[in-house]
C-alpha cells in the first residue's frame, strides 16, 4: 500500500511563513505586518518574566517528584508563547486557559503558588476568576474555546466592543494545544466565533505533541491555515520568540476589540519536557529532536540579545536571585496548603440542602469523628 499517510516533508515545518522578530541567535528581525518598538527596560522586564515563568514550572515539577503534588503538566520551552501573549492582554480582557498556561497566569498577577492547590488535590480552583479575569484551568481538551466564544458573544451583547476606547473595548482569549484542534468543540467554537464576529482570539500553543501523538496525526496543513476555512484570519508565529508572540497577539486582540472578529494564532513551539509528570516522552520521540528544539530556546535568545545591548552581569544575577526566592516561596506555600475538609463537599452544591444529602453530610461528620487522633 503506497497511500501517502503523512504530509510531504516540510509541510508542517516551523520556518514557512512564520512571524519572527527575534531569531534564535539573538538577532532582531523586522516584519512589516507587525511593527514593534521595544525599549531596553521593557525587554529586560520580559526576560525576567520568562525566567520566573520557567522557575514556576521547574519548581512545581520538582515538588511533584518530592511527593508534594499528585501531578504537574510542565510548560518547559513554551515560556515565550505564554509571556508574549500574556503581556499583550489588557486588564479587562478575559483569559480561558488550559492546564498548562502557568506563564499566562503569572502575567495576570496570580500568585503562582495558587496554581499548586489543584495539582495537590487540596483545591477545586484556587482563585476568583473574576478578580484576575483568568478562568480556572480547563482540563477537558478544547472545551475552553467554547467558553471563550460564549464569553465573547456576551461582550458583543454588552456592547463592549468597537468604541475605540482602550479602557472599555474588551476581548476574550482562549488557549489551546495542537491536539485540541482535532476536537469537535474547537470546530464549533470556530464556527460560532466566525459567524458572530465575536471578539475572541484563539491562541494555539502548537507544541508538536498531543501527549504522544505527533502533529502529523492532527493535521496535514499548518494549523493556522484552518482559520481560512471558517472565515477568519490565521497567523503562524515563532512561539519561542517573545517579541513576535507579543506583537501578533496584540494585533489580534486589537482587531477583536475593534469588532473585526476572531483570529487564530498558531504559536509554533515545542514541549521540551513530558506531557505531565506521569509521561515518559523517550518512548515516542528521539532525543535528537528535543535537542534541535533546545537550540531555539525562548530564553537564551533574549539573553544573548540583552547582553549585546548592554545588560550587565548584575542584572542577570538579580533575576536569578529573584527566581530562587520564587522557588523557595512555592515550596513554602505548597508545604502548608490546607488539607481540604471532606464535609466541605456538601456546602456549595445546593442552596437548600435536600434531606438525603443532609443525611450523607451528617454521616460524613460522624465518620470523620471516628478518626484516630482527629486533629480537626
Amino acid at each position: 500500500m503506497t497511500l501517502p499517510m503523512t504530509p510531504q516533508p516540510g509541510a508542517l515545518d516551523g520556518e514557512h511563513d512564520l512571524v519572527q522578530l527575534l531569531a534564535p541567535d539573538g538577532t532582531r528581525r523586522h516584519d512589516p505586518r507587525y511593527p514593534l518598538e521595544v525599549d531596553h527596560a521593557q525587554l529586560e522586564g520580559w526576560y525576567r518574566d520568562l525566567v520566573l515563568a520557567r522557575r514556576i514550572d521547574t519548581e512545581a515539577f520538582a515538588l511533584q517528584r518530592h511527593g508534594e503534588l499528585g501531578l504537574w503538566p510542565p510548560a518547559l520551552g513554551q515560556e515565550a508563547a505564554q509571556i508574549g501573549s500574556g503581556r499583550a492582554l489588557r486588564d479587562q480582557d478575559f483569559v480561558f486557559p488550559t492546564y498548562r498556561q502557568h506563564g499566562v497566569a503569572y502575567c495576570r498577577g496570580i500568585d503562582p503558588a495558587l496554581l499548586l492547590g489543584v495539582f495537590r488535590g487540596t483545591e477545586l480552583g484556587g482563585w476568583d476568576p473574576q478578580e484576575y479575569r483568568y478562568a480556572l484551568p480547563q482540563i477537558i481538551i478544547g472545551a475552553q474555546t467554547l467558553h471563550a466564544t460564549g464569553y465573547a458573544m456576551g461582550l458583543l451583547l454588552d456592547g463592549a466592543v468597537g468604541h475605540g476606547d482602550a479602557e472599555r473595548d474588551t476581548a476574550a482569549i482562549a488557549y489551546l494545544g495542537d491536539g485540541a484542534t482535532s476536537q469537535g468543540d474547537v470546530a464549533e467554537a470556530f464556527v460560532w466565533a466566525a459567524s458572530y464576529q465575536a471578539p475572541v482570539v484563539f491562541f494555539c500553543e502548537n507544541n508538536q505533541y498531543a501527549i504522544s501523538v505527533p502533529l502529523e496525526r492532527q493535521t496535514r496543513v499548518p494549523i493556522a491555515q484552518r482559520a481560512a476555512g471558517f472565515g477568519f484570519e490565521g497567523v503562524r508565529v515563532d512561539g519561542n520568540d517573545v517579541l513576535a508572540c507579543y506583537a501578533v497577539t496584540r494585533a489580534a486582540l486589537d482587531a477583536a476589540r475593534q469588532g473585526f472578529g476572531p483570529t487564530l494564532i498558531e504559536a509554533v513551539t515545542y514541549r521540551v519536557g513530558a506531557h505531565t509528570t506521569s509521561d515518559d516522552p523517550t518512548r515516542y520521540r528521539e532525543d535528537a529532536e528535543t535537542e534541535a528544539w533546545r537550540a531555539k530556546d525562548p530564553i537564551d535568545r533574549v539573553r544573548i540579545h540583552l547582553q549585546r545591548a548592554g545588560s550587565d552581569a548584575a542584572f542577570f544575577a538579580s533575576v536569578e536571585a529573584e527566581a530562587d526566592q520564587l522557588g523557595a516561596h512555592l515550596r513554602e506555600v505548597c508545604g502548608r496548603l490546607p488539607e481540604p475538609d471532606l464535609v466541605g463537599l456538601f456546602d456549595h452544591v445546593y442552596t437548600d440542602v435536600p434531606e438525603e444529602l443532609a443525611r450523607q453530610r451528617d454521616d460524613a461528620i460522624a465518620w470523620q469523628a471516628t478518626d484516630e487522633g482527629g486533629d480537626r
Binding site: M1, E59, A62, Q64, R65, H66, G67, E68, L69, G70, L71, F119, R120, G121, T277, S278, D279, D280, T282, R283, Y284, R331, G335, W367, T370, D371, E372, G373, G374, D375
Partner: protein, 417 residues
C-alpha cells in the same frame, strides 16, 4: 533526622525499583539536587531532594523494589533539631491503596516519620496487630500469632501474604549443614522485576488457568525452504528479509480459517467462547529485557510482503526496547520460534487469554524416508502446538496442526485455503 519517603510519581503507582543512587552517605545536597533514579512501571524518573543537608543514610539498595510511602533516604538538615522535616508528603492526591478494613482513614502520623520496615519493626511489640478480619481468621485457623509477624507494608497492616510467608518460613526445614566447597563462586541474586516479573505472572496465570494439551508433528519443509529462496529473489521482498517465521505465520493464518477454534477465547465470566474477527498474531521475541510478544494486528488480511514487513518492524522495535504497550495487546494466537536457539521443539505455554500457541523447532538437514522408501537428506523441523482444552478438542487441535504442517510440506496447498 528527616526522611524522604518514596513518592508516587505517576498517578497511582504502588512501588518502584531503585536504579542508581546519585549520592552517597555523607554527601552534601542542595534542594532539588538529584538523589536517585527510580524505575516505575511507566518510566525511569529522577528524584530531586526536597531538603538541603547531609545524606545520613540510604535506606534502600540499588535493585530493591520499594513501596510508595516507604522511606528511602535520611537527610540531616542544618536545623534538624527543630524537626524541620516536612510533613509526610507522599500520597498527595493519589498514593497507594490503603489496605485496611472498614472506612477508617489512617491519620498521617503528625510530625513523626513513617514507620521503617527494618529488621525489627516496632509493630512486633504492639499489643494488637492490625489486620482485616478474614486475615485474622486465616491466621487463627493456622495457629499463627499476628503479633509475631512483621508486615511488609509500611502502614503496619498484616496481609494474608504476610501470614502465608510466615507459615512458609516456619514450615521450612532448617537448612542442612553442607561442607564448604572451595573455589565455587557465590550464588548470584537478581531481583524479580520488570519483564521477568510480568512474564512469570503471565505464565503462572496461564499454566494454572487453561488446561494445556500439546501435540507434536515432524515435517519435511524442504519445499518451504525452496520457496523462501524464490521469494528472497522477488522484487516484492527487496526491502525486507523474508524468513521461515513469516511463512509459518502465513500458514497459521490460513489454517485458522479452517479451524478458528485455535484462536477462540474462553470468556468464563460471560459464559461464552469468543471467535475473533481477525487474527492478532503474536510473535515471541527474545530481547535484552526478556521475552516480549509484539502482535501483528489483522495478520490474516495482510499480503505476504506486508506480513513480513510488520513482523520485521515489530521484532526490531522489541529488540530496541521501544515497544509500546498497544503493540503487545490484541493477540489471538502466538508463534514462538524456539528453533533459533538450536533446539528441536518444546511445549509452549499459552499467552494468557489465548487458546493456541505454536512452537517451531530448528530446521535441520535430516535423513528422511521418501515416497519410494529411499532414505534422502531433507530439511526437517518439528512443530509443537499447545491449546486450551476447554476451548479446543483434540480433533480441532490435530486438524489445525496437520494443516500447518501440510502447508509447510507443500506450500502450493495454500491454493486450497
Amino acid at each position: 533526622m528527616p526522611e524522604f519517603c518514596l513518592p508516587d510519581v505517576g498517578e497511582g503507582l504502588t512501588e518502584a525499583d531503585i536504579v542508581t543512587w546519585r549520592v552517597a552517605e555523607g554527601d552534601e545536597v542542595r534542594v532539588n539536587d538529584v538523589l536517585v533514579d527510580i524505575e516505575t512501571a511507566k518510566s525511569i524518573v529522577e528524584l530531586p531532594s526536597p531538603l538541603a543537608g547531609t545524606v545520613g543514610a540510604l535506606l534502600a539498595a540499588e535493585g530493591d523494589t520499594v513501596r510508595v510511602g516507604a522511606p528511602i533516604v535520611r537527610i540531616e538538615t542544618a536545623d534538624t533539631a527543630e524537626e524541620a522535616a516536612p510533613r509526610t508528603a507522599v500520597l498527595v492526591g493519589y498514593g497507594p491503596r490503603d489496605e485496611k478494613a472498614g472506612g477508617r482513614r489512617r491519620r498521617r502520623a503528625g510530625r513523626v516519620a513513617e514507620p521503617v520496615p527494618s529488621a525489627e519493626p516496632e509493630h512486633t511489640a504492639s499489643v494488637v496487630a492490625l489486620a482485616k478480619p478474614p486475615v485474622r481468621k486465616f491466621a487463627k485457623d493456622h495457629g499463627v500469632d499476628l503479633r509475631a509477624i512483621s508486615p511488609a507494608d509500611p502502614s503496619g497492616i498484616v496481609t494474608r501474604t504476610d501470614v502465608e510467608n510466615e507459615l512458609r518460613r516456619t514450615a521450612a526445614p532448617a537448612p542442612a549443614e553442607r561442607p564448604a566447597v572451595v573455589g565455587v563462586a557465590e550464588e548470584r541474586r537478581v531481583p524479580i522485576a520488570g519483564v521477568r516479573k510480568h512474564t512469570a505472572e503471565a505464565m503462572v496465570e496461564s499454566a494454572f488457568t487453561a488446561p494445556h494439551v500439546t501435540e507434536w508433528i515432524t515435517v519435511d519443509v524442504s519445499a518451504t525452504m525452496e520457496l523462501l529462496d524464490q521469494l528472497r529473489a522477488d522484487r516484492a521482498f527487496a526491502d525486507v528479509k523474508v524468513t521461515a517465521t513469516v511463512l509459518v505465520a502465513k500458514a497459521v493464518c490460513l489454517a485458522l480459517r479452517r479451524t478458528p477454534d485455535l484462536h477462540a477465547r474462553w470468556d468464563g465470566e460471560a459464559g461464552e467462547i469468543v471467535f475473533p474477527a481477525h487474527v492478532g498474531l503474536g510473535v515471541a521475541a527474545a530481547t535484552d529485557r526478556g521475552l516480549l510478544v509484539p502482535v501483528v494486528p489483522q495478520a490474516d488480511v495482510l499480503p505476504l510482503p506486508e506480513l513480513a514487513r510488520e513482523i520485521a518492524t515489530l521484532v526490531r522495535t522489541a529488540r530496541e526496547g521501544s515497544l509500546q504497550p498497544e503493540h503487545m495487546t490484541g493477540g489471538t494466537f502466538t508463534i514462538t520460534n524456539v528453533g533459533v536457539f538450536g533446539v528441536d521443539a518444546g511445549t509452549p505455554i499459552l499467552n494468557p487469554g489465548q487458546s493456541g500457541i505454536l512452537a517451531v523447532g530448528s530446521v535441520e538437514r535430516r535423513p528422511w524416508v521418501d515416497e519410494e522408501d529411499r532414505i534422502v537428506p531433507r530439511w526437517i523441523t518439528t512443530l509443537a502446538c499447545s491449546f486450551d482444552h476447554r476451548v479446543v478438542d483434540g480433533e480441532q487441535g490435530s486438524r489445525f496442526l496437520a494443516d500447518v504442517a501440510s502447508l509447510l510440506r507443500d506450500p502450493s496447498r495454500a491454493m486450497m485455503f
